[in-house]
Symmetry: C2
Subunit: 151 residues, 2 copies
């Protein structure tokens, strides 16, 4: 899966290292498709009903925004940076800062904020991940702890 020729392991990482996870545009069709399966509420599935809501527009399910942050993480951390992720362990402090509407561009970044040896084969790495719109408005933030292979 790794398009980068250099796989990076637990020992290769340092607290403070930052990663640009790229950007993507959220479409109305994707918002509705996700929500019909996982969060079927009119503000996420029905543009007309959503226009009458407190948001004034269709908005993405918060779990859809969270799923997009995972796609950015896979593209930026697993594929591009080549970090040997094994599995996620937990997420702390998952906050939605503003609703996402069709056409919003989500830019994602991550920073390593913690490193801990787990056993002889693995370590845990803590990332702070943030997504912002093109205007710089915070959209979502979370801190995740993942298992990474050791050399």
């Amino acid at each position: 899966m790794n398009q980068n020729s250099t796989q990076r392991y637990f020992e290769d990482l340092a607290v403070g290292e930052t990663f640009n996870l790229g950007a993507e545009t959220v479409t109305e069709a994707e918002i509705i498709s996700f929500a019909e399966q996982y969060d079927p509420q009119p503000i996420h599935t029905d543009p007309e009903a959503a226009a009458e809501s407190m948001f004034g527009t269709l908005v993405a399910s918060g779990w859809h925004t969270a799923a997009i942050s995972m796609r950015r993480f896979v593209d930026g951390i697993v594929e591009k940076a080549g970090i040997a992720i094994i599995a996620g362990v937990e997420v702390e402090n998952l906050q939605w800062r503003r609703p996402i509407k069709p056409g919003d561009v989500l830019n994602a970044d991550a920073e390593i904020v913690g490193l801990e040896e787990w056993n002889e084969e693995r370590g845990t790495v803590q990332f702070e991940l943030e997504m912002r719109t093109d205007d710089g408005d915070p959209v979502l933030q979370l801190t995740k702890r993942v298992l990474v292979a050791r050399k």
Copy 2:
């Protein structure tokens, strides 16, 4: 959206109240479909590669499991219990306890663990949500804070 004739507001809720959010079976097709879009790693998208992994089988993306917990929450809390949810605010302590494989049945429950007035129109309600397999093994737990309308 509420199929229950009685809409329930912030004032109608009490700490300690529990809700059965029903169950659903996770299919291989759904695991692959979610992961191809949001978490494209071989353990989630490629049954043959996954069979060679530490899990020995295809497993669902953690964010897929989290999205399923939202579907259970909408069905059980918004639709069945009729609670006047406005929006999610944040999630704390999102933990994946074991991987989900095709055919696993996820049973979900929630308990109200906190109530706080927000303003004259809304309160925040804190729910602890847990999903377990039919064998009673914990799968996922999280604590979420949501805005609920006042009377």
